[in-house]
């Protein structure tokens, strides 16, 4: 519950990590951090700066999350989502 309140406090125009992005909110990728291998895999899948991305839902046990980008859906763990910085708004 408290986590949700925190999420709703997010202000447009303030970058944050993908794993705190609430479901259904459209955002754009700002950058991808993390280790070389993980960042590369994420970027190969199309998560590059500028890409539109949206969290669709969370798995029943809270992890992984399902995101939508470039007209397809991708599942990734919160640990990976944390490496992706996004900016809310198109």
């Amino acid at each position: 519950m408290r986590k949700n309140e925190q999420k709703s406090k997010r202000v447009d125009g303030e970058p944050g990590s993908l794993d705190t992005l609430p479901s259904g909110v459209a955002a754009r990728v700002v950058n991808v951090q993390g280790s070389c291998a993980i960042a590369r895999r994420l970027m190969e899948m199309g998560i590059v700066p500028g890409a539109h991305i949206r969290v669709v839902r969370t798995a029943p046990l809270g992890d992984p999350i399902q995101v939508c980008l470039r007209n397809y859906h991708l599942a990734l763990r919160r640990a990976e989502a944390r490496a992706i910085t996004v900016l809310v708004g198109i």
Binding site: V32, I38, R40, R41, L42, V56, D63, A75
Partner: protein
Amino acid sequence: MPARALTIALAGNPNAGKTSLFNALTGLRQKVANYPGVTIESKIGWWSLSEEIPPARLIDLPGLYSLDATSLDEQIACDALLGRTEAIPSPDVIIVVVDSTNLIRNFYFLTQLLETGQPVVVALTMFDLAEKSKLRIDIDRLSRVLGVRVVPVVAKRRQGIAALAEAVVQVAGKSRMPVRTCRLSPEAETEVSLLSAGHPKDRFRALTELYDEKLPEEPGRREAVKQARERLARVSQRWQQEPLIARYDWIERVVAGAVQREHNGQRNVTDRIDAVITHKILGPVILLLVMLVVFQTIFLWADLPMALIDHGFTALAEAVRDYLPAGVFTDLLTDGIIAGVGGVLAFLPQILLLFLFISILEDSGYMARAAFLMDRLMRAVGLHGKAFVPLLSSFACAVPGIMSTRTIESPKDRVATIMIAPFMSCSARLPVYTLMIAAVFSGRTVLGVVSLGALIILGMYLLGITVAIIIAWILKHTILNAPPPPFVMELPPYRLPDFGNVAHALLTRTTVFLKRAGTVILAISILLWALVAFPRANATGNADDRVIVSDQAANGSDASSRQLQNSFAGRAGRLMEPVIAPLGFDWKIGIGLISSFAARETIISTLSIVYNVGERSDKKSSSLVDAMRSAKRADGSPVWTPLVALSLMIFFLLACQCMSTVAIVRRETNSWRWPLFMVGYMLVLAYVASLLTFQGGRLLGFS
């Protein structure tokens, strides 16, 4: 026009429709083959391109998202595509399969191939779906910008196949100028042209070396690349991401120029299905229901064909026995070869049904959702969501399950999954459970309605899963300790499984299974028969024999059971009796255990011989059950008590009694270390668990 047969590779993203296209191009002329020298399995088919040239060899490669491989599967596929291994010749043409409804992501892999200069033809699959969702793709323009032939195809309706053949013949073996898809910053471009000495053909190699995680092997090159990387790192912190960003930039421009309204109509349906399938509460419930339905159906539907195969082979053995004169050769043919192979073939229906369900679930897109739902649980024991599918398959047979662990990127995770796969109670254990239940638990119910037998079988499945979880946890925290690998998995749109593809998958699986039954299992059957048939019994026996004969007198002494008791297997059974007695097993069960180390279900045929049933009775199994019920120990107490049966079931659940599994683990891990470790630790575990069951049960007053 080339006169020799062309080699064509089929490559592309997973779920892009590669298999459908492969089936449409080759029809039934395909086989599963191994690459020389490596363990990877690939499909090879023959495709008649035109009348003038011999049919081309078409190789179906594992799905790839990029040429920078992470898993073993991908590594081998990339090497094959670029002709980097000597074992596999560089293909004359690469057909890049691109899903028309998901152009941008699919194009990433294509851009890398375009950069290599390899001869490429693009097949735009699922073109009908793209048209349906009002996606207008300007093929000519796309072709011009990409610099390669682009052919729209609808594999299911065989549309575009002729055009694809024509395009392939046209570009076969012709060198092509590499396309410059990624334009980097001036600093990076300087480094790339330094490493490629300004040759456009060497640009891709330079890019790979510069941005790869590893340094090149060659010492001179190594130093040059190292220095270039240091210079780039000084300019930008994220210099390594530059080519990826540049390629996607290029792709976005290409797609924007050639495609009107990039919109995916299928997604709406998929989103609605996903809302239910991956729902917080409904999702797991549906997953459980799907698994229940699959296993229930396998057991229901497989019964009749299994009985038919069994009867067929029994009839065949009898016919052969009637026709041929009695002797060692006839015995070998009937008891060794026909009985052994027939016993294993009886499992074909179950295995086929499981593969039927797995290919339907995979083709429809459900398997990825199952992994999505299960990942958190699998991670709790240190495994990957992708391990769920191999483990689920192992409930039918560990062999295909172990083979399907190749999709797991981390080698340590893969080995951990392989090590626990045999704990999933496979279909070969089922007849053993069924026999035990029929012998000692039949007719008993719990609370008046639930059959005790069904509960015990369920218990066996759950026990197997529990042990697997514990072992996985231990392995992942000791010898296979590694950081969790990234979980990045596509959730493809739901699609109706194509009947042809499913049928093809089944046909391939049957062939693979039959080949195995025809070679490994045949050899083992003959060996086992020899252990049981030699040395030949003679009329006069030693003191040891007389004991057995008198023991056997109650059941009706007979030549064949006397033969078994004197055989190598019988002697070994008696030799090991002191070791297995604490588990509640006598030496006759010991013979069964020895024979079952080749394949679990052989204990049934061995017990049939030990108790000397089958030949005179038309109802083989029921007479075996009768014989087991009347079998007595030396002190007159029954051999088969509920506790003995339970102890045996647990032993069969936990021990690795399957030659095929050992062989496949050897092949998949490429060493004898892991299969031997697996057999050893599972045997110890099985022994201890059976010991605890039998001795503990006795202490608690059960019999």
